[in-house]
Symmetry: C2
C-alpha cells in the first residue's frame, strides 16, 4: 500500500455540545437526533416511501400549499436556489433578482451560470422592497421570473410578500421566494400569496439536521418546467424526474437517486413536532423568542442594524459592531460559553453580529443562557478593544 492508514482517524471521536445561535443550523431536539440513529432504510423500501409521503404532507402544511410538485432535495439549501434557476430558466430568459444582501448576489451568480439574462433590483443593506418598486421593474423589464428572499440572513431583514404574487402574475412573471431562514417562524401562505416556487433549508426554524432542502412548485411553475424547449442542465435537480421519485405526478416511483433515509426520518420527525405543536404556536414561540432576545440585547446596549422594527427578520437579529471587538466577542462566546454567534456574511462581514433564534433553540431558557453569555463576551471584547487602543 502506498498510503498508510491515517493515524488521525485512530483517535476517538469527540463532539462538543454547542448552542448554535448563528444564522443556522440550530440545535435539533433529542427526539430528532434519536430518530436519525434508527436503522437505515433502502431508498426503494415501502416504509421510506411512506415517510416521504408524510414529509410531503408536512411541507404542504408549513408552506400552506396544495401544490403536487412538493418534495425534498437531497442536498443543502443552496440546492433549492439552484433548482429554481435551472428548472425555470432557459438560456436568454430574463430574471429579476431582488438584491439586499448576500442571497440576492448568490442567486444572480447562479442564474448567470445557467445563461439567463440577470437584472438586479437593489435596496440598501438593512432595507427591503416595496410593491411600488417591484411593479416598476416588472413593468420596465418584463422578466420571466422574480426572485426575492423572505428572510435575508446576511442582514437580518424581513421581506413582506403579500401582494407580490398577484403583481407578478399581472405582468406574466413567475414569483420565486427563498424562505430558507423564515418558514416555520413567520407567516408564509404560499397559495394565498400566489407564490410559484419556494424552498427552504430544514436546519433552521423547522428543527431538522442540515442536508435536505424542501421545495414546492405551483401548477403554473410546473407547466413552465414541462414546456421547456431546452433540457434542464442538472440531472440531480431535474424536477421532471425527481418529482417522479417523490410520487408527484402519478403512481410510479422510478429510481432517480439514493435518498438518505436518516435525514428523511429526521425531517419527518421535525415536521411531526411542528404538527403536534401547531404551526401558529410554532411561529408564536419564535416571536416570543425574538422579543426576549431583543429586550436582552437592548439592555446590554447593543444597537440594531435594522432600524425599522417592521423590517426585522425575527429569526436572525443583527446588531451593529461598534465599541467592541467583534471577533473577540464571538471567540469568547464560543470558547467560554459554547455559544455560536455569527459575524456578518458577504457584504456585512465585519459590520454586524447575527444572533439566531430558531427551532429547538427558540425557548426562554436557552435565550436566557445566551444573553448571559453575550453579557460576559461583550464585557471581555470591550476590555480587549480598549486595551488595544
Amino acid at each position: 500500500m502506498d498510503i498508510p492508514a491515517p493515524e488521525i482517524l485512530k483517535k476517538p471521536l469527540e463532539i462538543p455540545n454547542k448552542i448554535l445561535m448563528g444564522a443556522g443550523p440550530a440545535n435539533v431536539s433529542p427526539r430528532v437526533l434519536h430518530a436519525i440513529s434508527k436503522p437505515i432504510l433502502g431508498h426503494m423500501n415501502q416504509e421510506l416511501f411512506q415517510i416521504m409521503d408524510e414529509i410531503k404532507e408536512g411541507i404542504k402544511y408549513v408552506f400552506q400549499t396544495r401544490n403536487d410538485l412538493t418534495l425534498a432535495i437531497s442536498a443543502s439549501g443552496h440546492a433549492g436556489m439552484e433548482a429554481v434557476m435551472s428548472n425555470l430558466l432557459e438560456p436568454g430568459d430574463k430574471v429579476l433578482i431582488a438584491v439586499n444582501g448576500l442571497w440576492g448576489v448568490r442567486a444572480s451568480d447562479m442564474a448567470g451560470r445557467y445563461d439567463a439574462q440577470v437584472v438586479k433590483m437593489t435596496a440598501n443593506m438593512g432595507s427591503n422592497f416595496t410593491l411600488r418598486e417591484i411593479e416598476y421593474y416588472l413593468q420596465t423589464e418584463s422578466p420571466k421570473l422574480l426572485f426575492i428572499v423572505q428572510g435575508e440572513t446576511s442582514t437580518g431583514v424581513y421581506q413582506p410578500l403579500e401582494g407580490i404574487g398577484s403583481l407578478c402574475h399581472r405582468y406574466n412573471c413567475l414569483l420565486a421566494v427563498d424562505v430558507v431562514a423564515s418558514v416555520g417562524a413567520v407567516e408564509f401562505l404560499m397559495d394565498r400569496w400566489e407564490i410559484d416556487v419556494a424552498y427552504a433549508g430544514v436546519q433552521k426554524a423547522l428543527g431538522a439536521p442540515p442536508g435536505l432542502t424542501i421545495i414546492s412548485f405551483s401548477p403554473r411553475a410546473q407547466k413552465v418546467i414541462f414546456e421547456r424547449t431546452t433540457p434542464i442542465k442538472v440531472y440531480y435537480w431535474d424536477m421532471k424526474i425527481l418529482g417522479q421519485q417523490w410520487n408527484c405526478y402519478n403512481n410510479v416511483r422510478p429510481y432517480h437517486h439514493t435518498t438518505c433515509s436518516a435525514l428523511l426520518v429526521g425531517l419527518r420527525e421535525s415536521l411531526a413536532i411542528i404538527t403536534e405543536a401547531g404551526l401558529k404556536n410554532w411561529q408564536q414561540k419564535h416571536k416570543e423568542g425574538y422579543k426576549q432576545l431583543k429586550k436582552g440585547l437592548e439592555k446590554l446596549g447593543f444597537e440594531f442594524f435594522v432600524d425599522d422594527e417592521s423590517k426585522r427578520l425575527i429569526t436572525v437579529t443583527s446588531v451593529v459592531v461598534k465599541d467592541f471587538d467583534w471577533k473577540e466577542l464571538v471567540k469568547c462566546a464560543m470558547n467560554k460559553h459554547n455559544v455560536e454567534i455569527a459575524g456578518g456574511l458577504g457584504p456585512t462581514a465585519g459590520k454586524i453580529l447575527r444572533i439566531g433564534v430558531m427551532g429547538y433553540n427558540a425557548n426562554p431558557y436557552t435565550i436566557d443562557y445566551v444573553l448571559n453569555a453575550l453579557k460576559d463576551a461583550l464585557n471581555h471584547s470591550r476590555t480587549y478593544k480598549t486595551a488595544k487602543l
Copy 2:
C-alpha cells in the same frame, strides 16, 4: 390557516430493522448510527473543520491517493458523476463513455446535458472492456475524457483498471472512474493506476449512511478545471469554490454551502472503522463474504449472470431469473425475512436478481441468515410460478 395539520404526521414513527442486501445502501454499524445522533455542529465550527480534515485523510487512504483536491460532496452518488461531467467538460468537448450497464447510460445522459459530444463504447451486459478495445477508441476518437465504471451494479460486472490510466495519458485523455460500489471492497490504487478523478457513494462498502459522495481529482484534472474557458454551470459542485471550503488549495475556508455535520460525523466514523481494521483486511472481508454467498447460491441452484468469474463484482452478485417468479422471491425475502434483495436495474430489469455484500453486512452470520432466507423465498417463488402455469 388554509391547510390543516396533517393527521398522518401525528402517528408515531416506526422504523423496521431490515437487512439491506441489495445494491446499496447497506446497513451501517451501531457505532456509526450512534455517532450520527450526536449534537449538530455548525458548518463553520473548528471541530467540524477538524472532522473534515480527518475525512480527507480517510478518503486518501481508501482511494490510495495523495491528491490535494479530495473532499465529500453533500449529496448522493449521482452528484459525483455530475461533478465529474460539469467540472471537466466544456461545451463541445468529446467524452468517451464505456457503456455496459445503467451507469454508462446515466453518465452519457449527464454529459449530454452539459453539451459535451458523447461517444459511447459499448460491451455486452455482463462483460467488461479490454485495454485493446479502449486503445482503439482513444486512437480513433481522441476524447478529452474517458469515463468507466469499476463496479457496474446494474449487471454485477467488475472492470479491471490497471493500465487504462497510462493508456489514456499516452493519448492525452483524462480518466474518470466510478468506484461507487467497489471502493473499500476491491483493490483501488488511484495514484499508481494514474486515475484522474474517482468518486464513490459512502453507503456501500464504506459503511456510512447515504447522503454524501467522496471525490478526488488528480493534479492533472485540477489543472483542467482551473484552465477552463467557460464557467462551471453548477455552483453546488463547482470544485474551484467547494475545494476551498474543504481546505484543498490554501488555508482559507470560505462558506460555500451548509454541510451536514451528522452525515460527516457518520462518514468519519465509518472511515475510522476501516482504518482500525486496515484496508487490506476490509477488502478481504468482502472477498470472503462473496465466496460464502457464491457457494450458498450455487448450492441453491442459482445460475450466475456473469459467467466468467474474473469479471464478477464481488460486492454485487447477479443471478439469472429462470425457474422462479422474481417478484415473489423479492417480496417473500422482504416480508417474511426482512431481507432486501434487488431486482435488475435499467437494462437488466426483470432478467436478474442482485445480492449485495457490503460494509457492515459483509460478515458470515448475516450472509448465512440471508442464504437461509433466499432458500425459503426461492422455494416459495418456484411454487408460485408452477401454480400460475
